[in-house]
């Protein structure tokens, strides 16, 4: 909450100083320049797969093309993921829904979300507290494997499970 307020204040300060003329646009397009160092967020590398602080043993599940339904294999993996979460009651996880690169990037964001939510719902049905699970979709933006082969596509239609700080 406090952090959010701080960000709001920072934003107000930013907009305030730019509208009074001191922040003249530096690029020829007239748009202000944004730099990664100026943003307060973590770089993407720090957010992706391996965060060392917690060794979360959750397996990736895979999906069929343009589908978000869980097949027998996916349900089996999710059952073992649920067991792990029940045994390690302090663990929390973010479920990241992903798609292969075929089709509309925009539609794939919604499809990835549906995949993440399908896994979340199944884990909740198996008795995992919903408050321990968050979801996000990356659509086709974060392929696990590069390439335009059916094998690569199959590895990219997935839910990854990442530890999150409680």
């Amino acid at each position: 909450m406090g952090q959010r307020l701080l960000m709001c204040l920072a934003l107000v300060a930013l907009v305030g100083c730019q509208t009074d003329g001191t922040g003249s646009p530096s690029s020829s397009t007239g748009f202000p320049e944004e730099s990664a160092s100026g943003s307060s967020e973590m770089p993407p590398a720090a957010r992706s797969s391996s965060e060392p602080d917690m060794d979360l043993q959750l397996e990736t599940v895979y999906f069929a093309y343009d589908r978000a339904s869980l097949d027998a294999g996916a349900r089996g993996i999710l059952r073992s993921n649920a067991e792990y979460l029940k045994t390690n009651s302090g663990a929390t996880a973010r479920i990241e829904g992903n798609c292969d690169s075929r089709g509309s990037a925009e539609y794939n964001l919604a499809l990835g979300e549906r995949r993440a939510l399908a896994a979340k719902q199944y884990l909740v049905d198996l008795g995992v507290d919903a408050s321990r699970l968050s979801t996000i979709s990356y659509g086709e933006e974060r392929p696990a494997v590069r390439g335009q082969t059916e094998a690569a596509f199959a590895k990219n239609r997935r839910d990854d499970f990442l530890p999150t700080a409680r």
Binding site: E34, I136, S137
Partner: protein
Amino acid sequence: MPAWLAALWLLIAAASAVAEDRLQVDVDQGAGRAYRVAVQHFERGPGVDPELEERFHQALISGLEYSGIAEAVSPRAFLGPLETRDYEDASFQCDDWRAIGADALLQGRIESADAGLRIRFRLFDSVRCLPLGKPHRYQSEAGPSDAGRIGYLARRLADEVVRRFTGQRGVSSTQIAFVSDRGGNKEVFIMGADGSAPTRVTGNGDINLFPSWSPDADSLAYTSYKSGRPDVWLLSRGARRNGPLLGSRDAKYRGVWAPRNGDLALVMSREGNTDIYLVGENGRGLRRVTRDRSIETSPTWSPDGLRLAYVSDRSGSPQLYVRDLASGKSRRLTFEGSYNASPAWSPTGEWIVYAARSGSNFDLYLIDPDSGYTRPLVSHPRQDEEPAWSPDGRKVAFVSSRRGRTDIYVVDVDGRNLRRLTADFGNSSNPAWASWLD
């Protein structure tokens, strides 16, 4: 006398009773007959560098030819002077230009004015031997880089010449926003409609997607993961506005500016379902448009702002739908194929262009939103996706992987005049074409 010239004379005779500021040449779009323009080198005022004029001249010709409806007559054919010798002298030997097959003569003067540059020009109809429109001038603001501004002035002039020929302004001076991963991650860039001067706009190091222009071409909406989740951000030239569209933590996948009234169509997920909402550009007045349990995404506005076309998978596969916003009634538009996506409604209202899958391959099609009549626009064994209209509705920018990496291409609405805009720029995607700046 060639047949087309005879036809031309007939046409001119027929039209001569009509007092009109337009060149009366029959441009058959299918046959590709273009207006032939003799472009003189412009007279240079005191202190104007010859190299600057040369740069202007080349940008002017390239701007004219970008339209696909005008071409420059080779100066080697000129009987009249290669350059404008005295702009104040408006006399004009039309026979000299008509004899070499020029439909029109463009002449003018470049001079420095108030620390900027001023372009004065006039256009002659060499067939009717009359001025074509009034003499006119453009002026750049004072600035350190005349070289940078001269290209824009030239393209603006080219677009005005196109307007005098066709009644519709050209688009060579407009801009296209797009996304490129050339720096490793996806950032938003802007380039000229001809692919010139690609310039990075965002630089947060995270995933940035789907730029959408405000109707005045002054602001962009885009999707960014920079706050750790997908959210829609607004950004204005001069940084008048730079922040998230809405304060909520819901996942927001795309904002699309309405053609008028300052609303955006917003793709947002609430309670585990992606639907389309409307919201003011100030973040107020959020209201829901679709309420289905299926995925609703990719909204595109009709030019009057009264209807939305969008993608829904309510039938079991992604298909196009059209919704009347006042009545809330929607109807399915596409029935062929198992995957139709990325609709874009033309600024003329006539067509919706979209990407359709056949086999494992996406091609672009045009569909009449009222009758459902469909025709192919571009196809290729590799992917053609994400179409976006030019503001005059004559061209479509799109993404294609026909050279391996994805690039932005542009094609005329009749499928001709295909050209690639991005080169050696990583993978480029998500084109959004801005309206004219002024």
